[in-house]
Subunit: 335 residues, 2 copies
């Protein structure tokens, strides 16, 4: 290999010290004369010196890197969210690091620790459960910027972006009620992240405000995945509901498949509404009626808020709520 | 903020120089006496000094980080591939960095440049086109370990992992022929990566070996996505084929949706076989018959080969080929 040009070569050529060169090339050379600065820059130019990333980092402490922790990269919701992040990061010359941490708190801790050591400039935390002590220990104490996705802002006192999930849950249940349904089930995970809990609350509010008693037998818990939805098809049939709100699209699509295999066609036998509006909604049969989250915008906006915070650490708390909308397709039928 | 304990504090306590401490704590202190080494380690222990990542890196030049470049994180194939990577990386205490680079050669170059600057230990390159000069300029000259996924090994002379794509293409077309089809189309992108080209060759070999003339009108080009498949439904109908090999599952699923909307049900009117076996095959209607790639194993194995290479730079060239298999579901009917 060719010997790498080092900062020492620049210093020798400019007839000054390594420290002087380092400060000037890292834009911390205000105390030097214009003449010295010009000499150092010319020397650097002449021998095409590229500052070593790690040496530079020790002075600047900015890595132009943000980390994104998601629970499940296999969920199309998160792959689209990441696209939004990458678009904005690329635009501002930041490198995003993506991690799929599962439901595994140990893995979240591991990634946070390792990434903090690597001086990542900030974090987008889209994992569904994050403990206050994890935030406190890894990020708050060190004043590392981060933004939470879909977490309770009251609990954490952090920059946060969320969607109007209570409204979304209400919208989903109201739509089924408008279509004449009265026995309305909900399929959701047992361990509920904050945003899922909001959808559940919205569903309950809608039922109660239409004088429908919320029946615990209509609440069916299962893992948040296609497979999870598929597995509870028989339970949904047994519950006697005529319509179901599945709290995400993957659940809804798995459930529709399970019902069809048991001879209960959707929507003729049971109606289903999902949540998210992943692109697959258009490609399954029946096409899925759902509550649309602005997924791409969510990724873009989360990144903008984080970059804001990195730029201006003393900014007031940033909290943003994006709205949702109903997308009617073919999976709900009037009762 | 509390003042951070630095290497200077350790040196002061151990009554030695910063350089000595740095070398000893980075396991490069062989030339010091056992007594000095013990004194430095005790001092570090006493004041709980955590070496600064970047300072440490300047000595060690190993970041325990690998970068993974994929063309499209939205394709479930790649999100599953990444899962395989993460499993093995986590096991060996490496941090994987994931990038979705699109079909954009400029973005591939940008990510490679920035990541090389950050001293990433190695790369898994799963982007569909990578130019020899890109590899040469960013990686080969600097002797940075990398592994190519689904690229022509002859062209690049690199560590490489691939699947038996020619065999897969042959298998797909043979299956349709066995089912009595004689007019067999293929849907594929115009710009073909090496692996897609192999599938195309396999399809042609199967037809020819059954005395079926390969008809250019049966070759329909479109972008490699659900939307791409959806868009060419009318063209497929017009071509007069009774069965189609779509070179990936997303294409196949989009096409099936498009055909159904035009009143040509799959498989009653036209049969379809896909490629990949993404988990969605089980959740679309009809369930998709396909050629299964060992996606998770591919991610795991790629990572193992790369970590091997990082560990032993002088190892002989590693080239591995994984096999494929037919998965029969409901999208192909006997003619």
């Amino acid at each position: 290999m060719v010997r790498k040009v080092t900062i020492k070569d620049v210093a020798a050529l400019a007839q000054t010290s390594v420290t002087t060169v380092s400060l000037i090339l890292n834009n911390k050379g205000q105390r030097f004369s214009a003449e010295t600065i010009a000499r150092v820059r010319a020397a650097r130019e002449k021998i095409s010196y590229e500052p070593d990333y790690f040496a530079q980092n020790m002075v600047n402490k900015e890595t132009k890197t943000i980390a994104v922790l998601v629970p499940d990269i296999n969920n199309p919701f998160f792959s689209q969210f990441i696209q939004g992040v990458e678009e904005v990061a690329y635009q501002y010359d930041f490198i995003p690091l993506i991690y799929s941490a599962g439901q595994n708190n140990q893995k979240v801790n591991y990634y946070l620790k390792e990434l903090v050591r690597r001086n990542v400039d900030g974090f987008i935390l889209a994992v569904s459960h994050i403990e206050e002590e994890t935030l406190e220990g890894h990020l708050k104490q060190r004043k590392i910027p981060y933004i939470l996705l879909d977490q309770s802002e009251k609990q954490h006192q952090s920059d946060e972006i969320a969607v109007a999930d209570t409204e979304g849950g209400r919208m989903a249940a109201n739509y089924l009620i408008e279509k004449g349904h009265r026995q309305i089930g909900i399929v959701l995970p047992e361990q509920r992240a904050w945003n899922i809990e909001q959808r559940f609350i919205g569903y309950q509010v809608a039922l109660v405000s239409h004088q429908i008693t919320v029946n615990p037998d209509w609440q069916i818990t299962t893992p948040l995945s296609k497979q999870g939805g598929y597995q509870v098809a028989q339970q949904v049939i047994d519950s006697g509901v005529s319509a179901v709100f599945a709290v995400n699209d993957e659940l809804a699509i798995g459930l529709a498949r399970g019902l069809a295999e048991l001879g209960h066609a959707v929507p003729e036998s049971i109606s289903i509404i999902g949540y998210d509006d992943i692109d697959w909604c258009e490609y399954v049969t029946p096409r899925l009626t759902t509550i649309k989250q602005p997924i791409l915008a969510l990724g873009q906006e989360a990144t903008r808020l984080l970059l804001n915070r990195i730029e201006k650490p003393t900014l007031g708390m940033q909290q943003k709520m994006l709205s949702v909308e109903l997308v009617e397709r073919d999976s709900v039928q009037a009762q």
